[in-house]
């Protein structure tokens, strides 16, 4: 469902992704790990279509369509979902209003039946419960004044309602307490299925105890430098990234890394 070939991308003119390839098939869970600044969020943002994140080479196909040619909303309507590393606060727009607009647009585009407001409210409350978020949060401004962990749970709550085909979770585990980590993992696992793909960006092996990945990749210097099974995450936990990145930090420093 996701096919990335030799992807090059720059942020505000600065090259960050430098030849990244990755294939995600339905039912698979992929974990992406890697040092700070290596390009993990950049990859997620490029796929979701954020402004100023520009594909300069290679291609990224989702459900056979070239993502570069789609507006961000069209990607979401096709079933792509990004849980943000830093969810955005929108004062003045209530969470409920936001969910309503999002679900109306995506469900209509996907030919799913429309939810009336009673159904929507019921589903939203259920989703809140699933991630242990007080339904009162539906009335508040989107992420407005939410704690770090509440923001992450709010992302997962949205994901549960939107039932995406491909979910990209960018460090959804960071900032969660131990109980919340399990709750969120349960939420994500409930979404696993033969039709769905999940890409987890994480720094911690711990999350992968709860959401067991089929594949683990190490992103460094804008490329995937190592791929393996779930045991790779354990190795990384023990040895760090140094053995993979040749002692360099693997971030996008000024040095030009050639293959």
């Amino acid at each position: 469902m996701l096919e990335i070939r030799d992807l090059h991308a720059s942020v505000a003119g600065e090259p960050i992704l430098k030849g990244l390839s990755l294939t995600v098939k339905p039912s698979e869970v992929h974990a992406i790990m890697g040092p700070n600044g290596s390009g993990k969020s950049t990859l997620a943002n490029v796929l979701a279509g954020r402004d100023n994140y520009e594909i300069t080479g290679g291609e990224a196909l989702f459900e056979g369509k070239s993502l570069a040619e789609l507006e961000p909303e069209e990607r979401a309507q096709l079933g792509l979902f990004l849980a943000f590393q830093y969810p955005v606060e929108i004062p003045g727009v209530s969470n409920m209003e936001f969910l309503k607009a999002a679900l109306e647009a995506t469900r209509a585009a996907q030919g799913k039946e429309e939810w009336d407001s009673v159904t929507l409210l019921r589903k939203a409350r259920e989703a809140c419960k699933q991630v242990d978020l007080d339904p009162q949060f539906l009335k508040r401004g989107v992420n407005e004044g939410f704690s770090g962990g509440e923001k992450k749970r709010n992302e997962i709550m949205q994901m549960l309602l939107m039932e995406p085909k491909l979910a990209l979770l960018d460090e959804t585990d960071s900032g969660l307490d131990i109980d919340a980590l399990q709750t969120v993992a349960k939420g994500v696992n409930s979404l696993r299925g033969p039709e769905r793909g999940i890409v987890l960006v994480t720094h911690y092996q711990r999350l992968l105890d709860y959401i067991v990945p089929d594949h683990v990749h190490v992103l460094s210097g804008g490329r995937i430098v190592k791929s393996g099974g779930k045991e790779l995450a354990l190795e990384l936990e023990q040895h760090g990234y140094g053995w993979l990145t040749g002692g360099q930090d693997g971030g996008n420093g000024k040095e030009d890394r050639t293959a």
Binding site: P72, E73, A76, Q77
Partner: protein, 419 residues
Amino acid sequence: MSRDTALNLPEDLKTRALENARQATPVEALAPLRRDALTALEGAAFPGRKTEAWKYTSLFPLTDGHLARRAEGEAPADLPMLGEYRLVLVNGRLDEDHTALPEGVTLGRQARRLEGLTTPFAFYNGAALEDAVTLDVAANTDVSAPIQVLHVSAGDSPSHCNTRLEVNLAAGSRLTLIEQYLGDGPVLTNAVTAIQAADNAHLTHYRLQADAGDSLHIGTLLFQQTGVSRIDSYQLMAGNRLRRNDVRAFLDKSGAELNMHGIFVARERSHIDNQLCVEHRVPECTSNQVYRGLAGEKGRAVLNGRIHIHPGAKGTLAELSNKNLLLNPGAEIDTKPELEIYNDDVKCAHGATVGQLDALQQFYLQSRGIPLAEAKRMLSLGFVNELIMSLPDQAVADWAQPWLAAELGQRPGADEEAA
């Protein structure tokens, strides 16, 4: 009309205004006011290109000849009803068939000479009045049901009307007043509304201006807080071909409190100019002003917020906040707080900003499948939502929500221009 006429516009307007005033049908109850106003008008000058207070607003649209004729159209059949009681003025004349008032409120057809009205348009309003409405709220009366006053302008060729409303709240009275302006056709409404509040009076005031885009409006709203009173005013305004709102407030008794909240929106090629002036003349009064403005396409919005704290007005609390949102680069908003403080013992805060829609917020909404146009509309609405949520009367909130939703929706061509 030709450019030559435009060059002489201030004089031309004055000549027309004087002529109209002298030819107006005599009305006995209004005669003293009209005489006074005519004298003032004779000594006044209409604004021209160099007049500071009219820096951002040109009277060029009036070269179409609005002052040459009085508007004579008829009001549409179905007029909105926002309160239990309603009063309708069509082109400045009271429509007696549509008038109903609650107990404790007396209707008069006269008008006062008003201190604080100093503009030539306000003088003209007084000098040429053929009808006026005064509402007197009896002492210690709590008028629980809101009174809606509809100012309707109607005409199909360039013309004008003078409309005047005065409301006097006697001691201990309480009133909710919904002033609504409706326009149909190229008519200039030259409006004066004056409100006086005595001790322990409390007024909730709404000013809803959503007249059609080809209408014009020049008006003054005057608050005279002669008693220890409280006024909460909510002003929701759309730009049109020419909209100029002067608001002048006099806090004249220690303990008086004035709260003004406003939203103004200028889309397409519309124009709105707000000139606010709050006069603190005695100690220990409070004024609080919160305005939010939006402009899109080639819209143009102006706010000038003057706070004048007189030498004796010690212990004054005065605040003014005006945040603005530019929906695209072709639009323009000019905002300026203007403080004149003549004593040290005051707490005065002001802030004015002009910003744009946040790109990251837009992306966040889009990433959830919400189309860009809808995302922009939601964010614009979010920008003013706090104010809408705080409207104390549900009927007004119910009117305001769809009005704003339409006013803040995507306009054809907006994206082309941005691209």
